[in-house]
């Protein structure tokens, strides 16, 4: 029910609404670093993580919420897909 593109679109739409209101989707590519560039600060990341948990029915452990999984939309999508396959 969630393929990779659907996951990416959902994340992108959440980030645009919460963090970048007014920005267009085409300006937010999948490989853009968001944590390391400061676009997502710690508060925005916390919200994003709980959005991901609620939307995709997974649990993100504290050690999983770092830059390695939550910097780029690509990384987030792979992480979420991996989690869903492990269930």
């Amino acid at each position: 029910m969630f393929d990779s593109d659907a996951i990416k679109d959902a994340i992108r739409s959440h980030i645009l609404t919460e963090v970048l209101p007014g920005e267009s989707a085409s300006n937010l590519p999948d490989d853009m670093p968001l944590r390391t560039s400061g676009v997502l600060d710690s508060m925005a990341t916390l919200k994003l993580v709980s959005f991901v948990e609620d939307t995709f029915g997974i649990t993100v452990e504290a050690h999983e919420a770092g830059v390695e999984n939550f910097d780029r939309i690509d990384d987030m999508a792979s992480f979420i897909q991996g989690k869903r396959e492990d269930r």
């Binding site: 963090v19 970048l20 209101p21 007014g22 920005e23 560039s37 400061g38 676009v39 600060d41 508060m43």
Partner: protein, 508 residues
């Protein structure tokens, strides 16, 4: 030679010495010599005296910026009364509130502004129409003598917007203005060869310098009315055509003049001194302006209406390309003292720490008109002097003087961090494509506090929100990165040409 105690004497001394020289020139070219201006001022004083108005009275001025308005305010002073300038483009309700609040005995009103000064609150009305004015000067009653007048008499009442939105009258005396003007005369050496700009409206305290530093020294005063003041291209031409030598305004005005005034194509070589006050001058725009006016020196003046100018600093030139922080507001002017306290009327902060800037000195206002409670909340006795709590936060840097940190009411707590909104703006100004930036903090149910940046971008490619966010994160701590970005064609300004944060906050 000591300066006269009273403002009207200051003008009169210059008028007697420079009678045939030009005193004031309006935007449309209408002009008065010193002798003519003195005669008109005395006629106004005679009219007021004939109506029993003098020392202890207030007189409203509801006029555009023209030669009659200058004669009117000098005439009110000559009569021994205090003038209350009303912003001619203010809402009628506000004008009436002010006239009623200070119980004017008379109002001098331009024919097309009568609506601002109805007879119910204006007292005796002197109509500054062509016919009436001509008749006034023709059959002038003699001005009263100055017996009984004192330097501590009220000279003018300037109404400022309180934080509550209700205007309050700042009472300033002849002695207050004199101390400032004596300092300004020593610092800027005005002479009969000077031509001063008069950009600030008369209800704004910057006008005190324009009016009396020029008209007390035999110089020419060139009036800039509200329409001209908002047209940067025309202003740039005005600087050149009038061969202005001294300019004083807010940074907001200079910023627009620098960007759109075409100064780089004009000969502004006569301009020797540019003074600014009232706001922080974004450094990149100040740098550009200094490059466009290579012969001028630049002075950063600081002081709330309540204190006149109380600290000042000359800007060292050239401004290095790498400098990003604003210049200090400098050291106290003659007769002033300043200190940094940990609370209003509190204890001194340790050396180098930030504190609330308190000021004592000869320019300190008499108080707020009929608002003793508000005066007591801001004025403190300390070691035998009266100190005013400016509401500004500063720190002291040895050798440079005071560095302005921000308004106390523009400091917010966000996620446990203290955020000064002006600092967020300074960060935004580092972006090469942001011309103007203003940041407001808004309460938010979910996030607690949201920072919203209103930006005027340079012309051309639109800025992306993502780019701005990334840029801010690279120059500001996370707690200072704005949550929302709004693009504007221009920022709203108050009637005194400062950024109007109240209007910005109310935008949805």
């Amino acid at each position: 030679m000591t300066s006269p105690l009273l403002l009207d004497e200051r003008f009169e001394r210059a008028a007697r010495a420079h009678g045939p020289r030009t005193a004031v020139v309006a935007g449309d070219g209408e002009r008065r010599t010193y002798a003519e201006l003195l005669a008109e001022a005395e006629a106004v004083a005679g009219w007021l005296a004939a109506h029993g108005i003098g020392r202890g009275d207030r007189v409203g001025l509801v006029q555009p910026k023209d030669c009659r308005a200058v004669a009117a305010l000098l005439g009110v002073l000559r009569a021994g009364a205090a003038y209350v300038p009303i912003d001619p483009i203010s809402p009628a309700e506000r004008a009436r509130t002010i006239l009623a609040d200070c119980e004017v005995a008379a109002t001098i009103v331009a024919p097309d502004l009568g609506e601002l000064a109805p007879t119910s609150c204006a007292g005796h009305r002197l109509l500054a129409s062509d016919d009436e004015w001509h008749a006034l000067v023709q059959r002038a009653a003699p001005p009263p003598d100055r017996a009984g007048r004192e330097a501590d008499d009220l000279a003018y009442l300037l109404y400022t917007s309180g934080s509550t939105g209700v205007p309050k009258g700042v009472m300033l005396s002849h002695a207050n203005a004199r101390s400032f003007l004596d300092w300004a005369a020593a610092a800027f050496r005005p002479s009969p060869d000077d031509r001063f700009s008069s950009h600030a409206p008369f209800h704004f305290d910057l006008s005190v310098f324009d009016l009396y530093a020029s008209l007390g020294s035999g110089a020419e005063l060139h009036l800039i009315d509200a329409d001209l003041g908002k047209n940067p291209r025309a202003l740039g031409a005005f600087v050149e055509e009038r061969r202005l030598t001294v300019w004083y305004s807010t940074p907001s005005v200079l910023l627009v003049l620098s960007a759109f005034g075409g100064l780089e194509r004009r000969d502004s070589g006569a301009l020797r001194a540019v003074l600014f006050a009232g706001e922080v001058f974004p450094i990149k725009h100040l740098r550009t302006l200094t490059e466009r006016l290579p012969r001028a020196e630049f002075h950063n003046l600081y002081g709330p209406t309540e204190t006149n100018v109380c600290t000042a600093a000359r800007v060292p030139l050239p401004i290095p390309a790498e400098r990003a922080e604003a210049f200090p507001i400098g050291t106290p002017c003659a007769g002033y003292e300043a200190c940094l306290l940990d609370a209003p009327g509190g204890a001194e902060v340790p050396a180098g720490a930030e504190g609330l800037l308190h000021v004592a000195g000869p320019g300190l206002f008499l108080g707020y008109w009929k608002r003793d409670g508000e005066t007591e909340a801001r004025v403190f006795e300390r070691e035998g002097r009266r100190w005013y709590d400016t509401g500004d936060v500063a720190r002291e840097v040895p050798g440079e003087g005071y560095v302005y940190v921000g308004r106390r009411d523009r400091m917010v707590k966000r996620r446990g961090h203290r955020v000064e909104l002006g600092e967020v703006e300074s960060g935004l100004y580092k972006h090469p494509r942001i011309r103007e930036a203003a940041v407001v903090a808004l309460a938010d149910d979910e996030a607690g506090l949201v920072l919203r940046a209103h930006l005027v971008p340079e012309a051309g490619r639109p800025l992306s929100i993502l780019e701005l966010k990334t840029f801010c994160a690279s120059v500001l701590p996370a707690s200072m990165v704005p949550d929302r970005f709004v693009f504007e064609e221009r920022l709203p300004r108050t009637s005194t040409d400062k950024i109007d944060y109240q209007t910005l906050r109310q935008k949805t």
